[in-house]
Symmetry: C2
Subunit: 260 residues, 2 copies
């Protein structure tokens, strides 16, 4: 299994604090030694960092912790390989362009038989079931909506239905973004938390580190963090339920599937 | 105008020496202050770094100079913006997936009217004429070859013909890779150099730095470097001629257009 971390914010925000906690789980406080990656969106602009080395030992991960990239949306993944060997092309997040937007995707779980599902426009570069699922999902979106639909909710409910279909093959905990929204689907394990005024202290679970967000933020900032497991010990993380699909924009929930 | 740097090698090789020279031209010894980017291929694996800051002042560029990534193929670009504002999405190299391979592309020059050329599969994320040209080129390749042709030379002569067509609009100095080959097209300015045994010293033009490649290499290493302008002062750089199209593989010339 792997661990996911995502962020959606209404102002460009850096994720160095949460990132520092997660990176410890890549070989120090957790067993996810098979590489890590992180995607940042700055408006339409996109950049990502991939490293097949364990994050807890990685010189690149240490550099990133001290190099705050301000971003509206972030997706981060640390990998414990179960399908596909440890190499750069199998390192999440994966990315593709659709409608002139860069989509990126990270997955936790296994999907039995997904590689038999036919692909058309998007082909995997690596050999993971995760990248195959991402390509299949983008193929469906592209076929249904050759151009972006005016009603965003149509897109969201369509993606939700596809995610539910994929999830029938196994475990499909994901974070995905199209640069405008952050999408999450939970099969077994995802939790989230919104930080907004009044801001307080947060203490990492995986490292001796505390941040006082009151010192780091403006009163109108809204920042949501989503993770496989809570990253801090003194904040009210909310677990997501099975098949919960949530769309975040600007740090807030824009759409959420009904409780089943 | 911008500056390009590429490398093709038969063994995983780091480009930190040439990179150190080029980065100086991004605001120190040259005027290319509008961002920089670099792509690395490790087998099918791909990673890139993009930074809209001037490379000569960039903390990320300094980190990369001390973080040797061993790669068969590298493409690097420093930007002096003429079309498209300075922002992350306008920073080269651009990348897209075709045939399950990551293609990346960097361009020096202006192309008058390219944005009127229709696109189908690939759409630009940013607003540069360069990214539009790359999307158009990939569209043509995808249409002509829905799957990779068995005879690689068919692909090469096809890309050459498309590059010549684009070059009628202005200046089209490019470096492009599909993870297997490094393609270059020269309109006005590109030079190249192959380093192989017996290796010697190289002295950078843009910084006080010398490397003795005899200490850094094995006898069978073959490493070709391509750049807008020579990066070292004591090596036999060969200028490319107008409309010269060259394909490099494993550090060697695999295909070259005939002299006109």
């Amino acid at each position: 299994m792997c661990e996911l971390l995502g962020m959606s914010a209404n102002v460009p925000t850096d994720i160095t604090f949460s990132f520092a906690g997660l990176m410890q789980r890549g070989g120090a406080t957790g067993p996810h030694r098979d590489g890590w990656g992180i995607s940042f969106y700055e408006g339409k602009g996109y950049r990502d960092v991939h490293d097949p080395e364990p994050s807890a030992d990685s010189k690149l991960a240490r550099f990133m912790q001290g190099y705050p990239i301000k971003s509206h949306t972030v997706i981060c993944h640390i990998r414990k390989a179960n399908r596909g060997r440890v190499c750069l092309e199998n390192t999440h997040p994966f990315s593709r362009e659709l409608w002139g937007q860069t989509w990126s995707f990270a997955h936790n779980g296994q999907l039995k038989g997904i590689k038999k599902w036919p692909l058309q426009h998007y082909l995997p570069v690596g050999t993971t079931d995760s990248e195959h699922a991402f390509c299949w999902l983008l193929d469906q979106i592209r076929r249904q909506f050759p151009t972006p639909p005016r009603q965003r909710k149509k897109l969201w409910t369509f993606i939700e239905a596809q995610a539910d279909t994929i999830a029938t093959l196994g475990v499909f905990n994901i974070l995905m973004s199209d640069s405008k929204s952050l999408y999450s689907h939970c099969s077994t394990k995802l939790a989230w938390l919104t930080r907004q005024a009044p801001f307080g202290d947060a203490q990492l679970l995986d490292a001796e580190m505390t941040v006082d967000f009151a010192q780091e933020t403006q009163p109108n900032d809204v920042v949501t963090v989503i993770a496989t497991q809570p990253l801090t010990k003194n904040e009210p993380w909310q677990p997501m339920h099975k098949n919960q699909f949530t769309v975040f924009q600007q740090g807030k929930v824009a759409y959420q599937s009904k409780l089943q």
